[in-house]
Symmetry: C4
């Protein structure tokens, strides 16, 4: 408990940020009821801030966010952590560059996941943000490290910050929780657009060379200097 007391002040800002970011999931209609969750690594510590389990989006606030270690054990907070905590924790343990993880069941991304089909890179926007097709991860049951391992094994060798977990839904990662939320918003947007495009024909994929150019430019030039 003394650990929890010490970190309270340090964590306050991060709890605020993670709570507020959940508002982007509802704004873009990526989640319903209490489904979906966002976490952020606590910089420099083996801890993370994550959504509590089964709490309505209207009731989320900095105060209701919980802190766990990177094995999912509760460190701070009065509510049980998200039932997907083990998957988030596994990602943080195995991908040190990741500072944020997001999980949703957003409609179109989950529809691709249910078929086990990657989203092909047929839009400049996909090349920009995902650097190629958006990959599918294995089918994995909740309850142990299977989901986390599936995410890491799929994303470790990909430029994509999003993986479509088979018959389940998308997980996204980012340098920060905000970046991971952006990827969650964008994976649903491109999943929807590409779905619509295939309904009436076959869009042509971009060439690998064009994908590389677009990805390099977007990652290095887009946005304001010094932020992303």
């Amino acid at each position: 408990m003394s650990l929890a007391a010490e970190v309270t002040e340090t964590f306050e800002q991060l709890r605020e940020t993670v709570a507020a970011l959940h508002g982007e999931l509802t704004r873009y209609e990526l989640v319903i009821w209490t489904a979906g969750n966002i976490s952020a690594r606590v910089p420099g510590q083996d801890l993370m801030v994550i959504k509590p389990s089964g709490v309505a989006y209207d009731d989320l606030s900095a105060a209701t966010m919980v802190v766990t270690d990177l094995h999912g054990n509760l460190v701070q907070g009065e509510l049980a952590p998200s039932s997907d905590t083990a998957a988030h924790a596994y990602v943080y343990r195995h991908m040190p560059e990741v500072g944020g993880v997001v999980h949703t069941h957003s409609t179109y991304a989950t529809a691709w996941a249910a078929r086990g089909e990657p989203i092909p890179c047929v839009l400049t926007m996909i090349a920009d943000e995902f650097g190629g097709e958006i990959p599918v991860g294995p089918f994995a049951l909740i309850g142990d490290d299977s989901i986390g391992r599936g995410i890491v094994e799929t994303l470790k060798w990909s430029r994509s910050p999003a993986v479509l977990m088979r018959n389940h839904g998308p997980f996204t990662i980012g340098r920060t929780a905000r970046d991971a939320v952006k990827a969650a918003v964008m994976v649903e947007d491109v999943a929807r657009t590409v779905h619509k495009s295939y309904q009436l024909g076959t869009p042509e994929p971009l060439s690998e060379q064009d994908v590389d150019r677009l990805y390099a430019r977007y990652q290095n030039v887009y946005g304001q200097q010094g932020e992303k």
Copy 2:
């Protein structure tokens, strides 16, 4: 009338709850105009609180909710009860464990209902909440017990809290009205996702064993202890 006077205080909270839950139907765009309705059993009494007929969602409040007995006779309230009251009442009479009933014409669930096709269990989220495919109920005309009987006969032997009434739309049940609303929100969400998935191919159903494991875990572990 003396009965109505007696129960006023006891019912006030339940009327408030049922009125507020209708806001979830509009939030998730499950209903238009005055269509759709929610009821709650009055615990320990052969009574239920239900939406009045043909009243706009903006005009619903605790005060406009009506109370009927479990044969649909008006006990309290100044407005006529929902035209679906007989179906709700039949469910409460024949399924004593049910505390809430919801009916909508939500787009995707109704589209499956119009074809008379169950929604296959191709997503972990369906296994979690519905414990298998979401079943279709018979075509039944409004006006007698046909709809209620169709709901009960379909759901009595199923783990699913939702039934797709043929050429009509979904009815959902729950331990509480809130649980039934959650099922109404989720049946539309998975009806939409599975629809989208089938549009471009054929998603693979989960194995029976995986469905059982997921269902058992979700019903027992998910959410905060002591609530659901």
Copy 3:
């Protein structure tokens, strides 16, 4: 001008009503930008209240509504009446029981209209409100009585309050403007649901007998006594 002065007070309430009803068109996303329009017959007079042309929905108010006679000539108001005024006026001249007319380009209803296909009666909700399939009207150019005549000739012998004007969009009528708006909301809703249902198979139409029973009941029993 003295006529305009006389009717000001009488019309104030109707202008308020028609202005407010336009909010239902945006709420249900039936219109974009300045497209779409609602009118109401002035009871007992050969006049109607209608939306001005090309005015944004945020800028509509009782004060901006205009009054015309039943040939579309401006009687009261400072703005030009809707470019669809001639069609509304024709309907009022030829269907004395009609008190309200609505026109939108709502997505799904217009998609059926572009193919020139009626919406089949495969849902109890369609039987309830439309009394059978929702018919298609002829292709007609704006600028004379063609559109109005197409509406009247299609609806005069139908129970449906909605007609899908070919390559154009839906027009709906009602005893009041509110009823016509309800029909506009419902035609889009069922156009969408039936569209979705056909995408993955073929829903079975209701029998004529069932349609008749449902229609009779809904028109006579539904809602609160004394209103509709």
Copy 4:
């Protein structure tokens, strides 16, 4: 810097207008996150007001808008201009009648763009606003004048104010920024409606003569006199 000081007052109104118009892009759900951008030519000067790069829609205001010359060089403002500035600038340099440019990745318009298919003129609304089918522009990489040139070469000889840039998304132009935003809203609306219509069959295109009549009327008669 003295130039920037001089123009501040003159530009204030235009910055306000351009900032506010971005609210229409979110209202009609044409954009997500920071994607999409609007610019306006500064009347009588070789300058334009444009959205800054990578800034969230909630954070846009008159003060955050930037001013560049018609080669994209920053003249006023503290943030880097939109990454699409070169395309906007090229359009203003080569189409003197254009006062506003809009770019989005709106879902349905982009789905047609990904297939490289023009949107056929099967609705009176398309004839009204676009004067015929909505054309496809070439695939072009960001970084030089390719996108701008593709827009101009496609639209210079067309009545359509919208072009679907291949594998990328729609660009629209107008006499004013507001007109270009209207075209962006309408291109998505008709892209969606025509998409839905083709999903269940084949809508019949309007005749060339009817398209011409509708276009002429809408451009000259619709709306209030003296504005558009």
